[in-house]
């Protein structure tokens, strides 16, 4: 009963201060929402990867593939089966239906090991006979079910649970015809249990190798960095949101000291009071958490299409653009809201509960800063920065990289109020007139109440500067790199080698050069990667984006004595020019140089094209780069289109590849920038709430000044100016911090996440714009309390003296 009364009394606080209550709810919802949104995106992406894995390789994850990446012949498959091998064929490819690209996975469910459970349709039934016989039943992902239905030979399309987005799964018989790949097999899935009597693979099919399926297994590793990136941003947003929550809760507790004392004096036990307070916090956390989860869902739904496009463009990972609402988020969202609330209110709660029953209930100067506090903060900050340095020196890995970023940001944020305060002290010493002396002193006195909001602003601004510097630097580098990398005017892919020969003959005299761009997928240093063959030409020597090159490197590569490798491979495995690298199982070459290769997650190497055809005689000789006078390239492309029927993806000009690459690039960072803006808004909101709550407590401090002769307007103006000044100072502190962050992102995080390091460029214009935004946001935040003060009734100010506080 007393608990109920205590709760009602405590809750009455909010009915008198609805704005404060709203602030608390919005702050907590925002924090939870950003967190949940990011988690939702990550969960969705991961579940898509899992789908892809189960669809490609139910149970078994070992496959047989040809060493040269070509397709396996039917006779090889039959010979394997008849020699005791238990394998199941898979034929993969892509086709277009209308404007949609559809990935086709052709399987033989009859021989697929233990498939029946994993091939369920959405309605739980699966008609194997209809799947196997023509016209076929096929499984499609929901997003392309319509397009799949009009494919020839398809009778029924059903959406399957395990079908990755943009994909159909068909019987291999249909896949052969859809893809026009008769007699071809992409790979053979090995059954987990093989029989006792088996002829050795070496004897039976020496061209095959047994490998762990990389494409499926790698996706997790490749995309980890991306998801960690998102998670880091989610954490940052959550932390900034918690600053608001802590500020508001702190204030509410301070304001209710009197109320709590009265309750205690009236006989409410400490336990009941504590219980009431915790219950109240939990209620708030649950309401705000629920709102946050819903908000998070919308944030995720909004961002997911971009994330999906990024993951597809960058890693070839298929992620559904549609969002499922999962129970897991509700729970984690609510949990994080509750944990956050309890965390933010821990000290306030403790302080309130330790208060002696009969102590004066007067609100103390809110979280007064003491000299000892300054010392502690300096120690903490110093400790954090030392930790960051130590991690930088001895740590490695992406988590460590983000830890460095986090410790730096926190370390800087902790000392911000002290830094501003000492600056105020300096100003104060130089101030001569009484009003300005009061202004500086009062600003310093007000700092503790604003410090959390300022820290939030610092974090948001620094993150903004850091991220936009990183993205800007990357964009600039990427743009220049594309110009180098895409030196040729046209890129063609012919249907077959016969057409290649015809095309080359025809281009004699019409083009300046026709350069083969042939490649095989193989294992480089034990990892799936590509080897490109290229012919020695000025196009490469002049333009190729080399980071390091040995003396005479091009000559050595041209002579087939050396190899060029991409930066990712060099960094991941610690290769430098001169080191010998293992390219596929049978070949080794020394490294002559390292080139930058942005946007590619896998190892890559370049060798002389003649060497490539000697090593891999069956390499598809169908892709070429054509050098031609830029002015004539359009006309030539048109002629090739008419004469050879090459178009679409098979005939691309430099400009459109570049456009597409930049598009992917921009989409990659859409989400980063969106989160950035959201974080900054949260910080702006934090400033607003802090100022608003402070303003209500400022009357006792302002009334004497008013009594001494300053008008309400003057005082309001000074209050407004103070807010702007503090924001500007925070901005100034944020700049070096942001640049430090940018450096960490470019030189540490990027290297760990993607395997490349980027040069840093400074974008002064951006900073000015950001500063302007920051000031405008602060101005808005400060205007309302200032305006409120300028119109306050003089009687209210006089009352301050009457209350004798």
């Amino acid at each position: 009963m007393t608990l109920q009364i205590a709760l009602r009394v405590l809750w009455s606080h909010w009915t008198y201060r609805p704005l404060q209550f709203l602030t608390l709810l919005v702050g907590l919802s925002l924090a939870t929402g950003l967190w949940t949104g990011v988690q939702a995106i990550n969960t969705e992406a991961r579940s898509s990867y899992d789908q892809a894995r189960t669809a490609l390789l139910p149970q078994a994850n070992q496959v047989l593939q040809r060493r040269d990446g070509q397709s396996i012949k039917l006779t090889t498959y039959v010979a394997l089966q008849q020699s005791g091998w238990r394998t199941s064929p898979v034929l993969e490819g892509e086709l277009s239906s209308g404007n949609t690209r559809i990935k086709v996975i052709g399987v033989d469910l009859v021989s697929m090991p233990q498939t029946m459970d994993s091939w369920s349709q959405d309605d739980g039934k699966f008609n194997l006979a209809a799947f196997l016989t023509s016209p076929h039943l096929i499984l499609a992902s929901a997003d392309i079910a319509k397009q799949a239905a009009i494919l020839p030979g398809v009778a029924i399309v059903t959406t399957g649970k395990n079908v990755p987005p943009g994909t159909i799964i068909t019987d291999i018989d249909l896949a052969e015809r859809l893809l026009d790949k008769p007699g071809q097999i992409s790979r053979l899935v090995l059954a987990p249990r093989q029989s006792l009597m088996q002829t050795e693979l070496q004897v039976l099919a020496p061209q095959l190798e047994r490998i762990i399926n990389q494409s499926a297994a790698d996706i997790d590793r490749l995309t980890d960095s991306f998801h960690l990136n998102l998670s880091a941003f989610g954490m940052l947003a959550f932390a900034v949101g918690l600053f608001i929550v802590q500020g508001t809760i702190n204030l509410a507790f301070e304001q209710r000291r009197g109320m709590c004392r009265t309750l205690r004096v009236l006989g409410v036990s400490l336990r009941t009071l504590a219980l009431a307070l915790i219950l109240e916090l939990l209620m708030i956390a649950v309401i705000a958490g629920a709102a946050g989860v819903i908000l998070g869902y919308f944030i995720a739904a909004l961002l997911l299409p971009d994330v999906a496009a990024t993951l597809r463009g960058l890693y070839g990972a298929q992620v559904s653009g549609e969002l499922d609402f999962r129970v897991g988020w509700w729970l984690t969202g609510l949990a994080i809201a509750i944990i956050g609330t309890l965390l933010a209110s821990f000290w306030s709660l403790l302080k309130l509960l330790r208060m002696p029953v009969l102590a004066a209930a007067q609100p103390r100067a809110w979280a007064l800063m003491t000299r000892r506090g300054t010392f502690y903060r300096l120690m903490v900050s110093g400790g954090l920065l030392m930790l960051a340095l130590a991690l930088l020196q001895w740590g490695s890995g992406l988590v460590v990289a983000f830890s460095i970023v986090a410790t730096c940001l926190l370390g800087a944020a902790v000392v911000l109020p002290d830094a501003i305060a000492s600056l105020m002290g300096v100003f104060e010493r130089f101030a001569r007139r009484p009003v300005s002396q009061w202004f500086w002193a009062d600003t310093r006195q007000q700092l503790p109440g604003l410090s959390l909001a300022l820290m939030a602003l610092l974090l948001a601004l620094a993150a903004n500067i850091g991220v936009s510097t990183m993205v800007g630097s990357f964009r600039l580098t990427f743009d220049g790199w594309l110009d180098q990398r895409l030196a040729a005017e046209l890129y063609v892919r012919t249907a077959n080698e016969k057409q290649s020969i015809k095309l080359r003959d025809w281009l004699q005299g019409r083009a300046d050069a026709v350069l083969p761009v042939w490649n095989v997928v193989t294992t480089i240093e034990g990892e799936a990667g590509q080897i490109f063959g290229f012919s020695d030409h000025a196009t490469y020597r002049n333009y190729w984006p080399m980071l390091q090159l040995q003396q005479g490197g091009w000559d050595n590569v041209a002579a087939g004595r050396a190899v060029l490798i991409n930066e990712q491979l060099a960094r991941r495995r610690g290769f430098a020019p001169g080191d010998v690298i293992r390219l596929s199982e049978d070949h080794k070459l020394p490294v002559a140089g390292i080139y930058s290769d942005y946007g590619n997650p896998r190892p890559q190497a370049m060798i002389n094209v003649d060497l490539l055809t000697r090593w891999f005689p069956k390499v598809a000789k169908t892709r070429y780069a054509i050098r031609v006078d830029a002015a004539k390239s359009q006309a030539l492309a048109e002629e090739i289109r008419l004469k050879f029927g090459l178009e679409g993806r098979n005939l691309v000009d430099q400009a459109s590849i570049k456009r597409r690459s930049l598009e992917i690039f921009e989409r990659t960072f859409t989400i980063t920038q969106a989160l950035n803006v959201l974080t900054l808004s949260v910080a702006g909101f934090a400033i607003f709430t802090s100022l608003l709550t402070q303003s209500s407590m400022r009357l006792p401090q302002l009334a004497p000044i008013w009594a001494l002769g300053l008008t309400r307007r003057q005082l309001a103006g000074l209050e407004f100016l103070r807010a702007l000044l503090l924001a500007a100072l925070t901005m100034i502190f944020a700049l070096p911090l942001g640049l430090g962050l940018a450096w960490l992102l470019l030189a540490v995080v990027n290297v760990e996440a993607f395997g490349w390091r980027l040069p840093m460029f400074l974008f002064v214009d951006d900073w000015l714009v950001l500063a302007l935004y920051g000031l405008v946001a602060t101005a808005f935040a400060a205007a309302i309390p200032a305006r409120r003060f300028s119109t306050i009734a003089p009687a209210d100010l006089v009352k301050v003296f009457a209350h004798e506080r």
Binding site: M116, Q121, L196
Partner: protein, 368 residues
């Protein structure tokens, strides 16, 4: 032999329509109609060598071999080799104009096992009827799937006189030579075997008289074996109505040279006593003449159960056929002869005691 046939219908039916909930009437889409397939007829006379080969116009068919073996080490062994054929669509729809490399209207599934007193090795392999991966032909006789094969030794052999059989799986392989020491046995009326009072039937014959010699390869090494074997051939199109919970079936070789096939179909427990259990039996004299017995002539009773693959399975039975004064107890050589295939069941060699002695094979389904 209706008993054995029935569960195989169910097995293959389930395999084909695996997502249909078990317990649905008549095992889902199989229904009771022939649905465009050829139907067994009492007018059809079985002809050799033609009928050793496949009958693609019928929905289902199998070549089913079980062998009781003794090793040079004195141990008893059992071996099983089975090839199932299942048509995916009726004959009229089987010819597809745009036939590709993989196009097929037939699915094939093989089961092989070796049982020792202490171990049981099982393997399943599946293939579509394209690319020559699996199939059967009558002359020279051959039935195969992947690397498993049951085939005539001499190209001109029209009557299963001498066959060889081979299979391999995880942990085992075997190669056996089979010599027929008696005639082929036709079940029912000249091989037209009626399955139910409503007239469902199959074409069905056996060669129960094989003498075997060969070699088993097991993880501990190889062992030469001799013994007897029994081959069943059956094809049909009409599944039975199947509200029953499972089947028990034996094929027994008595030491006096006579043989007995006996089985019972365990009812679902819903109807009256007559519906609950349905028995059938065929007695074969040492000279190879056979007598078929109607429902009720035979009795099969559980004596004791063992825990196998987490379920209680009767591994000792009492079998009585009063008309031939048979009253015997049969016991599994290895109670763990569990077939962990797509659709699991129990199948393994047994030892016979009582009025008769000898060895045989026991098969049981539907124990949960």
């Amino acid at each position: 032999m209706s008993v054995k046939a029935t569960w195989i219908w169910a097995l293959v039916g389930l395999w084909l329509l695996s997502a249909v909930p078990v317990g649905a009437q008549g095992y889902g889409g199989l229904g009771t109609e022939a649905q465009g397939y050829a139907v067994p007829s009492p007018q059809t006379l079985i002809e050799f060598p033609k009928d050793h080969g496949p009958h693609p116009h019928f929905r289902i068919e199998w070549w089913y071999l079980t062998a009781n073996l003794t090793g040079e080490d004195g141990s008893n062994y059992g071996a099983q080799w089975t090839l199932f054929r299942n048509a995916l669509k009726p004959p009229a729809a089987q010819k597809s104009p745009e036939a590709g490399n993989w196009s097929t209207s037939q699915l094939w599934m093989g089961h092989a096992a070796v049982t020792t007193p202490s171990a049981h090795y099982v393997s399943e392999t599946r293939a579509r009827g394209s690319l020559g991966l699996a199939g059967a032909q009558s002359l020279p006789f051959s039935a195969w799937i992947n690397d498993w094969r049951l085939a005539a030794k001499a190209p001109g052999d029209q009557n299963f006189r001498q066959l060889t059989v081979a299979a391999s799986g995880a942990g085992f392989s075997y190669q056996l030579d089979l010599k027929a020491r008696g005639p082929l046995i036709f079940h029912g009326q000249n091989g037209y075997s009626v399955k139910s009072s409503s007239g469902h039937a199959s074409h069905y014959y056996s060669q129960p008289h094989f003498e075997v010699s060969g070699r088993l390869n097991l993880p501990d090494g190889s062992v030469n074996v001799i013994g007897t074997a029994w081959l069943d051939r059956e094809w049909s199109s009409q599944p039975l109505s199947a509200a029953q919970s499972g089947w028990d079936w034996v094929a027994l070789n008595f030491s006096d040279g006579s043989k007995l096939m006996a089985g019972q179909l365990r009812g679902g427990g819903g109807g009256n006593r007559r519906d609950e259990t349905y028995t059938s039996a065929t007695w074969i004299s040492p000279r190879g003449t056979s007598t078929s017995y109607p429902d009720g002539s035979l009795s099969m009773e559980e004596v004791s159960r063992s825990t196998v693959a987490d379920r209680a399975v009767p591994t000792v039975w009492r079998v009585k056929l009063p008309d031939k004064a048979i009253d015997i107890e049969i016991e599994a050589l290895n109670k763990n002869a569990w077939m962990s295939t797509s659709f699991p069941y129990w199948e393994g060699p047994v030892v016979i005691r009582g009025t008769h002695s000898g060895r045989g094979y026991l098969e049981m389904t539907g124990y949960k």
